[in-house]
Amino acid sequence: MATETTTVAPPRPPKPATRAGRRPALRRDGRYAGIFLTPSVGGLLLFTLFPTAMALAISLFDWPVFGARTFLGLDNYTHLLHDPVFRRVVLNTVLFVVLYVPLNVVVSLGLATWVGPKIKGRQAFRVLFFIPVMTPMVANVMVWRLMFQPGGLIDSGLQSWFGINAPNFLGSSTWAMPAIVAMSVWQGFGYNFLVFSAALDQVPQSQLESAQIDGAGPLQRFRYVTWPMITPAIFFATTMTLITSFQVFAQPFILTQGGPGVSTQTIVMYVYNQGWQFLTMGLASAAGWVLFVIIMAITAIQFVGQRKWVHYDV
């Protein structure tokens, strides 16, 4: 067996191979790579890259689901700009993001810090908090829709223990958005909890202990020892949470149907309504692209901003 070494394939690096040995390997690898890559490349071309370009094209047309299409140029975009519903929908989405992201990060980081190495059953907490992240969103939202009903758990709890009536959360323009945010935090924080838990595990206990011996209190230890080490995790978590929260759909769709009025309608709901209720695909596609641009801008700002506060080398 070993004698065949020289005659069959040229050895792969550790040491760079000789020119003569390397070239045929590269060519042969290339042919195999073609076969290995075909399903993924084909799928991504057909189902991601092509539709992305088509989304832009469709957004420039009056494109009904059935029937004739007419080229409009940027008219769909100017329509969006002047549509009071779309403006409201963008505001609603931003409001959701502004409420949800900080709450999610504070809750998950706070709990992850609390459930430290000295707490028994840490693994159980990780699993427990992760459950609603994985269970079907629609099922989660259904449970909360029942809880928020007049006579549901929150209302009956408040009545029997404090003797007060809960507001009709989902029917009130004041309470509907906070209700959606509360449900979403319960559902989603387990993800960041896991991210932060894993990051906090990497902080060496010895450094925390020596800081304690030097007289640093818990807040100082967190600020000067823990925080710099977990900034990459914070960056990852905030970026991911920002991106996904701009895409919020199922919670308002099932809890409030966007109501009362359009007070909790979000951008993705608008895309859905334009596309599949009013059958105006061009407008839906344009709204989708606006969302895409918002997400890209936010992500870019995050990446530029990280240089100031994220430490990868500690």
């Binding site: 065949e4 070494t5 069959v8 050895p11 792969r12 590269l26 690898d29 290339g30 790579a33 290995f36 890559l37 399903p39 993924s40 084909g42 799928g43 991504l44 057909l46 189902f47 991601t48 890259l49 539709p51 989304a55 709990l111 609390w114 000295k118 707490i119 693994q123 907490f125 699993v127 427990l128 908090f129 992760f130 609603p132 992240v133 994985m134 269970t135 079907p136 969103m137 629609v138 099922a139 259904m142 449970v143 829709r145 029942l146 009903q149 006579g151 758990l153 709890g157 009545q159 029997s160 996904t244 895409q247 759909f249 993705v268 895309v271 599949w276 989708g288 969302l291 895409f292 992500t299």
Partner: protein, 283 residues
């Protein structure tokens, strides 16, 4: 001595209080899930009561059977299972093949192609749904299983996750095999895939779960809910038709959650690795 024991006692008390408070937090967190289970076992007229009760006047297991009678949940569960299994097979096959190419084969343009792969992750599903619907119309796939399975089965997440894992497998193992005349295919099937079992398990489970829970796309692409509907779609439909039958609704929701809860518990040691697949999944 006494001051030292006081410190120890103080620490114990603090730790005890901390554990008790955390247990309370955990119970509060569980309340919605307990409420769902509790409601799913109550008679219909005891769902809304003036004071919250964990149990109704009787434990009504019958609700679970009734839910399947009031709506075709049997069909929904079958559809969801079929779509999720088929979709997961496609994802795992396509991603492991391309991940192997990126991790092990040398070819021109490898790095730039990989960057392009990662770039596709930036495009949110919401941008794609309109042209995807048009594409399905053109292919005649509206209201079909094809449309439920294929469009979202080619994601760079799987490729990325498995490539990272393949890179940690020592090269020497494969080199030895290749020296013995083993081509990339045999090396991939005989050496890499068996070694990558933990990573494949994570990808499989998380992909299955994201197909299982997906809502927006089925909502758009399925017209005949009774025959092609998945579980989330069925739940949404059921709430529209039978909004008052909350006990049955909760029974169906609990059943929809059950497989995912079991998988999370089963896979608990590997949750962190799955975070990336989960993060932008949910299609």
């Amino acid at each position: 001595m006494t001051s030292e024991t006081a410190v120890v006692v103080g620490r114990r008390v603090r730790s005890g209080v901390s554990h008790v408070l955390l247990t309370i937090v955990a119970i509060l967190f569980l309340v919605p899930l307990l409420y769902a289970v509790s409601t799913s076992l109550k008679p219909a007229d005891e769902v809304f009561t003036a004071t919250p009760h964990l149990f109704g006047s009787k434990i009504q297991w019958q609700n679970y059977a009734d839910a399947f009678k009031y709506a075709p949940f049997g069909r929904y569960f079958l559809n969801s299972a079929f779509v999720a299994v088929a979709g997961t097979l496609v994802v795992v096959t396509a991603s492991s093949l391309s991940a192997y190419a990126f991790a092990r084969l040398r070819f021109r343009g490898r790095e730039s192609l990989f960057v392009l792969f990662l770039g596709t992750l930036m495009v949110p599903q919401e941008v794609l749904i309109v042209p995807m619907y048009w594409l399905m119309q053109s292919l005649g796939w509206v209201d079909s299983y094809w449309a439920l399975i294929l469009p979202w089965a080619f994601t760079a997440f799987g490729t990325f996750l498995l490539r990272q894992f393949f890179l940690t497998v020592p090269n020497e193992l494969e080199e030895a095999a290749r020296v013995d005349g083993c081509g990339p295919f045999r090396s991939f099937f005989r050496i890499m895939l068996p070694l990558a079992r933990p990573a494949l398990a994570v990808l499989t489970v998380f992909t299955f779960i994201s197909f299982w829970g997906s809502f927006l796309w089925p909502l758009i692409i399925v017209n005949s809910v009774d025959t092609k509907g998945t579980v989330p779609l069925g739940l949404a439909q059921f709430s529209g038709q039978a909004g008052t039958q909350w006990n049955l609704m909760m029974a169906a929701s609990v059943l929809a959650m059950l497989p995912t809860v079991l998988l999370v518990v089963l896979l608990q040691k590997h949750l962190v690795r799955g975070l990336l697949v989960t993060g932008l999944g949910g299609r």
